[in-house]
């Protein structure tokens, strides 16, 4: 084999592990990409802002959906399935949870908003999904989410769906969920 061929071979042999590593690099890259472009419809904690408040808001329906991840035995449901609100005002909705097992468990809810272009206009002052929930055997609780929908919401959106999936993270409790830890700092 001549030296030129050796050079080509070397380059290709370097490319293979690099592409293998790139496959793994995609894992954090997707998160970074979505964060930078803000296209993943995630809602982060926001501060109280006076200028978001208006008296002439328009009516809007917010639906709440709760889902239990596989093998998650807790009772988890919204106190009201639909809340009639108007834009530019703060509201508090609650979710009822109960640990139906006989052992101490830790849970984490992961939120999702539809339609996704409503996400940027949904402001959460407070949400149980920003924290972990630890419940004793048989313990129950009402979990609050304090929210405001900005008046800037596109006019064609008449209702918003807020969906929460609750996960059993008792076994993962030592280190909070990798992906969400990063997001919750914001």
């Amino acid at each position: 084999m001549n030296s030129d061929a050796k050079k080509t071979l070397k380059k290709l042999l370097i490319a293979v592990p690099l592409m293998f590593a790139f496959g793994f690099a995609l894992v954090p890259l997707y998160d970074v990409f979505c964060e930078v472009t803000g296209i993943n419809g995630k809602v982060f904690q926001s501060d109280y802002e006076d200028e978001l408040l208006t008296d002439d808001g328009r009516p809007l329906a917010v639906q709440f959906i709760s889902t239990n991840n596989e093998n998650m035995p807790w009772v988890f449901e919204p106190s009201e399935k639909v809340m009639k609100i108007s834009t530019g005002e703060y509201y508090t909705a609650t979710f009822y949870v109960k640990n139906t097992t006989n052992k101490k468990m830790v849970a984490q809810a992961v939120p999702s908003v539809a339609p996704s272009n409503a996400a940027a206009h949904l402001k959460k002052l407070e949400c149980f999904c920003f924290e972990q929930q630890e419940l004793m055997p048989g313990e129950e609780a009402l979990l609050p989410v304090k929210l405001l929908v900005s008046n800037e919401l596109p006019k064609n959106i008449k209702n918003i769906i807020m969906s929460y999936t609750i996960f059993d993270i008792t076994d993962y409790n030592d280190e909070p969920m990798a992906g969400h830890e990063m997001n919750m700092e914001h």
Binding site: T8, L12, F20, A21, I39, N40, F167, G179
Partner: protein
């Protein structure tokens, strides 16, 4: 390109070794090409037999022949075997046989690695097929092995599946490296990059695609392995992972993979059409640029497989337009083939029949692909038989017809005998009718809403499914005829001339038929 060989006195160098060890130890590109081609043919028959099980089950509604669990194993193995065992090794076999002869090189650049890359393949498929006899059965999650179906809910044999994919990937990567090093460094003097035969160009691009994406596939199955056995949570939502991430990584490999299975076909068909039209290929450089653009675009369209996972609107629009953009270079190629035939003095020998069918049917598969690219329409078509019809149209009368065309076209050069033209034409027409009867009705039942990957279906789909099954068995049986024709040609037949085809151009037609064990030990002189 025209070339003159001064003489053939280097032919009596030395012949092949005798017996089984010839094939085990061989580093000769022609031997390894032959091994690849026979291996892929065996896999084609095994994967085809699985397709017959699938179609037999779907002959009538209701559960007929196999258990649903076994049906799922059949669709999974059929896909994996046809892609990684059938189409890809067949193209590597053709590259081994043809690339050195087409560029005037004595052999592949890395002959020992060539031997290794072939001989690990049978082990990969032995492992994959042996999973059929394991507790819990073979992999049953579809060839796309979406997590968490392939991690949390997979049968125990998934670990063997992962290992076999690793081996297939290693084999493909070694094969691709070999092709690139050969083409970049071993061209005879005078064979410039823009003078290379299109099959060589198509394989150069394919090899780069393989080197870029096979390691990503290896990464994806490695992540699965870690999720299953080492407690990581790449794809497990409860552990902070993301199942959709799996689809992103998989299709980042998967879409270029689609072009890996079609670019060499473009090269083959270009040669055959120009030979039997007795004209120079129309638009050589635009063919090269078209293939390059298709290859580059293939990296930015992966999410069109995932329109329904909940992508943001901006992403859906981007992937829709990027996907449709691919129709432009593909259209350039189709028009070039037609322009090559225009006013040519065409004859329709078997390779040309397959090549013409390729152009027509592959284009139809391309059009149904365009329909699927329309995001809002895709929400209706997603995971229906329309998708099945689409990708079988581009893979069976696309990739596989091109491989058959290549075998008929070059087999006289490989073994020195002409195939039986009458039987070849019979094989073509049976395959052509079979393939259309099988897959065309699947467009209808798909548009009507029949989902893919189920062993049973609603009554309104019964008629077209029955037609489809009849076509599938016709197509399946005609491949036994293909095997017979190939064996008959290898055993004997009318002697082929060196030129073989009146309109054939290129260096491989300047050597004797059958091609001597060693060719171009001294580089040919090219005018």
């Amino acid at each position: 390109m025209s070339a003159v060989i001064e003489n053939h006195h280097d032919d009596h160098h030395h012949g092949p070794a005798k017996g089984l060890t010839r094939w085990l130890y061989t580093t000769n590109h022609k031997d390894i090409g032959t091994l690849y081609l026979w291996f892929s043919f065996a896999m084609f028959l095994i994967g085809g037999a699985m397709a017959m099980v699938i179609r037999a089950e779907l002959f009538q509604p209701g559960m007929q022949i196999v258990e649903p669990e076994f049906y799922n194993q059949m669709i999974t193995l059929h896909g994996l075997i046809m892609i990684f065992g059938g189409v890809m090794p067949a193209f590597v076999g053709l590259a081994n046989w043809l690339v050195p002869m087409m560029i005037g090189a004595p052999d592949m650049a890395l002959p020992r690695m060539n031997n290794l890359s072939f001989w690990i393949l049978p082990f990969a498929f032995f492992i994959l097929l042996s999973s059929l006899f394991m507790e819990g059965g073979a992999p049953n999650f579809g060839w796309t092995f979406y997590a968490p179906l392939s991690t949390t809910y997979a049968p125990p044999s998934v670990t063997f599946f992962i290992f076999s994919v690793h081996i297939m990937g290693a084999s493909s990567i070694m094969g691709a490296i070999n092709v690139v090093v050969t083409i970049m460094n071993m061209r005879a003097p005078g064979v410039g990059l823009m003078k290379m035969p299109l099959f060589v160009w198509s394989w150069l691009i394919t090899a780069y695609l393989l080197i870029a994406v096979m390691p990503v596939l290896a990464g994806a199955v490695t992540m699965m392995l870690m999720d299953i056995h080492f407690g990581t949570s790449f794809f497990n939502a409860a552990g902070g992972g993301d199942p959709v991430l799996f689809q992103h990584i998989f299709w980042f490999f998967g879409h270029p993979e689609v072009y890996i299975m079609i670019l060499p076909a473009f090269g083959i068909v270009s040669h055959i059409i120009e030979t039997f039209s007795r004209k120079q290929l129309f638009g050589y450089s635009s063919m090269v640029w078209a293939m390059l653009s298709i290859a580059i675009l293939s990296f930015v369209v992966w999410a069109h497989h995932m329109f329904t996972v909940g992508l943001p609107l901006a992403a859906e629009l981007f992937f829709m337009w990027a996907t449709m953009l691919i129709a432009v270079p593909t259209g350039v190629k189709v028009f070039n083939w037609i322009a090559t035939m225009f006013r040519g003095s065409i004859t329709f020998e078997t390779p040309m029949l397959f090549a013409c069918a390729f152009v027509v049917l592959f284009t139809m598969g391309g059009f149904s692909g365009l329909m699927l690219a329309i995001t809002p329409a895709d929400f209706q078509y997603h995971d229906t038989y329309f998708v099945v019809a689409h990708f079988h149209y581009v893979l069976v009368p696309g990739a596989i017809f091109s491989i058959m065309a290549a075998v008929y076209y070059w087999i006289p050069k490989w073994c020195g005998n002409m195939y039986d033209e009458r039987l070849g034409k019979l094989h073509f027409w049976l395959s052509f009718i079979g393939v259309n009867v099988t897959f065309f009705p699947q467009h209808f039942i798909g548009l009507a809403g029949m989902p893919r990957r189920y062993p049973d279906y609603a009554l309104q789909f019964a008629d077209w499914n029955m037609v489809s099954t009849v076509g599938a068995f016709l197509f399946g049986v005609s491949q036994i005829l293909f095997l017979f024709i190939v064996v008959k040609t290898v055993m004997g037949g009318k002697k082929a001339t060196d030129q073989v085809w009146e309109g054939a151009r290129g260096l491989e037609w300047t050597v004797a038929s059958p091609a001597p064990y060693h060719t171009f030990t001294t580089p040919p002189k090219i005018d």
